[in-house]
C-alpha cells in the first residue's frame, strides 16, 4: 500500500484540456494568483482561474462588500478588475510562471465585448483557456441578463466560439428556474465544459440601522451553505449534457469534492474556502488520493457521475 506504483490516476480531461488533478482554484477567490504565491505552491493545483476580467478596468461596487452569513458569506465586489490591457501587461508575466494551467475568467456587457476580450486573450501566451462568466449576480450587463435565457446563452457562447478556438468553459448561474435548458444552450453554443454554480443572490440586513449590510444591497452567497444547491444543479446538468461539468459551490474538503464528482462533476473548483485556509486545495487533492487508495479505485475519473440512485440512469454515454 502507498507505493508510487499503486498511486491512483489523478489526472482528468476537460474536453481538450488535460489537468494533472481535478482541483481548480475558483475565479474571484484567488485574485490573479500572485496573492497566494509564497503562501502555497501554485504548481500543485489542477489549474487556477483568475478574477473576472473585462475589456476596461472596473472600480467595482461601494463598500461594504462582504457580509458573513450562516456557514457562508455574501459578497458584492462588482467585478472590480484591472482590465484586459493591464492584465496582459502586469499579471500575465507572473501567471506564466505559476506552474499550473491558467484559465482566465471573462465577462462583458454585450456579445461583442465577450468576443472581443476572448480574442485579445487568445493571442496571449500562457493562457490555457477561458471561463466565460455569464452569471455574476452583482451586475446587470454581463450577468443575470445572459444567465437565465437559454437563447442569450447560446448567442453569447457561439459568438465567442466563432472568435476563438481555445478551451472554453461557461460558468452557469444557480439563479435560474431550470438549469438544464441553459446548460444545453451553452453546450450547443460551443462550450468545451461547464462550471457551476456561481453564487446565489442573497441579502443581509442590519436591524439596528435597518440598512442593507452590503453597499450593493444584494450580493452573491457562497460557502458551505450553498453546497447542497450546487450538488443538485451539477447532478441535473451533468445528466443533460455530453461535455464535462466542473462542480463549484461550498467545497471545503475532499469529501465535498468527492460528492460533486459522484454527482457528475469531472473536476471541482474551490472558492471561498481559500479565505479560511489557503492550503485547502492541496488538502483536497491529498484527500481525494487517499480516498481512491482506500476504496481501491485506480482512476479518479471513474468516480464521475457514479451516483447510485436506485432508479434507471438517464445519463447518456460519455
Amino acid at each position: 500500500m502507498g507505493s508510487k506504483r499503486d498511486d491512483p490516476k489523478m489526472s482528468v480531461e476537460l474536453g481538450p484540456l488535460k489537468l494533472k488533478n481535478p482541483v481548480l482554484a475558483a475565479s474571484g477567490t484567488f485574485g490573479y494568483g500572485e496573492e497566494y504565491s509564497g503562501i502555497i505552491p501554485l504548481k500543485s493545483l489542477g489549474a487556477l482561474i483568475t478574477k473576472g476580467l473585462s475589456l476596461k478596468p472596473r472600480k467595482g461596487t461601494p463598500p461594504p462588500r462582504l457580509a458573513e452569513t450562516p456557514a457562508g458569506m455574501l459578497n458584492a465586489i462588482g467585478l472590480e478588475n484591472v482590465g484586459v490591457q493591464s492584465f496582459i501587461g502586469e499579471k500575465m508575466p507572473f501567471l506564466r510562471k505559476a506552474g499550473c494551467p491558467v484559465l482566465v475568467n471573462i465577462f462583458g456587457a454585450t456579445d461583442e465585448e465577450y468576443a472581443e476580450i476572448a480574442r485579445r486573450l487568445s493571442e496571449v501566451e500562457g493562457i490555457a483557456g477561458l471561463e466565460v462568466n455569464i452569471s455574476c449576480p452583482n451586475l446587470k450587463a454581463g450577468g443575470s441578463l445572459f444567465a437565465a435565457e437559454p437563447k442569450a446563452v447560446f448567442q453569447v457562447v457561439s459568438r465567442i466560439r466563432q472568435a476563438v478556438s481555445c478551451f472554453l468553459m461557461v460558468k452557469l448561474s444557480p439563479n435560474v428556474g431550470d438549469i438544464v435548458p441553459v446548460a444545453l444552450a451553452a453546450e450547443e453554443g460551443g462550450a468545451d465544459a461547464l462550471s457551476l454554480i456561481n453564487t446565489l443572490t442573497g441579502m443581509a440586513i442590519d436591524i439596528k440601522t435597518r440598512t442593507p449590510i452590503l453597499g450593493n444591497i444584494t450580493g452573491g452567497l457562497s460557502g458551505p451553505a450553498i453546497k447542497p444547491v450546487g450538488l443538485r444543479m451539477v447532478w441535473q446538468a451533468a445528466q443533460a449534457v455530453r461535455i464535462p461539468v466542473v462542480g463549484v459551490g461550498g467545497i471545503g474538503s475532499a469529501e465535498d469534492a468527492l460528492e460533486y464528482m459522484i454527482a457528475g462533476a469531472s473536476a471541482v473548483q474551490v472558492g471561498s474556502a481559500h479565505f479560511i485556509d489557503p492550503r485547502v486545495g492541496l488538502k483536497i487533492i491529498d484527500g481525494i488520493r487517499d480516498y481512491l487508495k482506500t476504496q481501491g479505485i485506480p482512476d479518479v475519473s471513474s468516480l464521475v457521475g457514479s451516483l447510485k440512485t436506485g432508479q434507471d440512469s438517464r445519463r447518456t454515454d460519455r
Binding site: P63, R65, E80
Partner: protein, 325 residues
Amino acid sequence: MNLPPREVKAKILLHRRIGPDYFRLQLACPEIARQARPGQFLMLHITDLKDPFLRRPFSFSRIFRPLEVKKKPLDEGGVEICYQTVGRGTRLMTQLPEGQRVDLLGPLGNGFRPEEQCARVILVGGGIGVPPLLSWAQELRKKGSGKKRSAKASEASPELIFLMGAKSKEKTIGVGECRKWGIEVQVATEDGSLGMKGMVTDLLGRELMTGQHGATALYACGPNAMLVQVAQVAEQFDLPCQVLLESRMACGVGACLGCMVKLREEREPTPLSALSNQDSCPGEAAEERESREGAISMISGTPPFRYARVCKEGPVFDARKIFWD
C-alpha cells in the same frame, strides 16, 4: 518588500478579560513574531466548524521577538492581540482555552511607517483602536522617542505622547503599560471616570494648540468618527497623519477585494478645500482648474476616487488620501 505571510498553529499562552468586553490574547508564534511590524495584522481562525465561516483580522498590540535567552514561553517569540466582543465570532473566541492551538496567517498588511524628521509624535487611540498603537508606541520608545519631554528634546529623540480615549475608566487599555515603558499618556473618558472628561480628539486639539513644538506626526486608530476628526485636524495643521483602518475581511491577502477603502485619486487634485492652498498647477490657469473640478463634480457628484485594499495597500493609510464619506 514584505516576506510572504506564515501559516502557523499557535498555542494560546494567555487569554484574559481586560475590560467589560475587552480581551487580551497572547500567542506563541516565533515565525510571525520574527517578521511582524507594528500596524500589521493577522487572520485568526476561530473554529474548525464552518460557522462562523471566515477568519477574523486582528492587529498586533504587542510583538515579542524571539529572545536569545528563553526563560518563559513568550521568549520563544509571539504576538499579542486585543479584541472586543462585537458579534458571534468574537463571543465564541472568548471560549478559546489557554493551551489550545489556533490557526493564524500573518503578518499581513503594510504597517506603520516612521515619519522623517519630526520633533514630536502623537498617537491617538480610541477604544479598541488603542491596542494596535501599543506595539508602535513601544517600538518608537525603544528607538529613542520620548526619552525626555524637555526643552532639550533633540531631533534624534522626538517627543512621544499617547492620547487615549475610552467610554470609561474600565474600558481603557494599556495606560499602565505605556507609562511603565516611559511614554507620556493622556487619557480622556466620556464619563470622566479617568483623565479628562471628553473625547480623545479634545486632547489632541489641546495638545496641538498649546506650546511651541516642532514638526509633529500623528498616528491614529479608533472608531471612524474619531478618525475623521483626527484627519481634519491633521489637514488643518498640515501634519502628516497615518491612520490604521478596520474593515470586514475575507482573505486578508488581497485576493477577494472585499475590504476596500475609497481613496482620493492621486492623479487629480481632488480636495476642493485643498485647491485654494495649492500651488498653481503648471500650465493651467486657475479658471480652467475650477471649471474642470466643477465639471467633474457635476458629472459624478464626487471627485475622482479609487478603491484600495485595506488588507494589502493598508491597513495603514495616509489620512489625507482617504476619501472620508
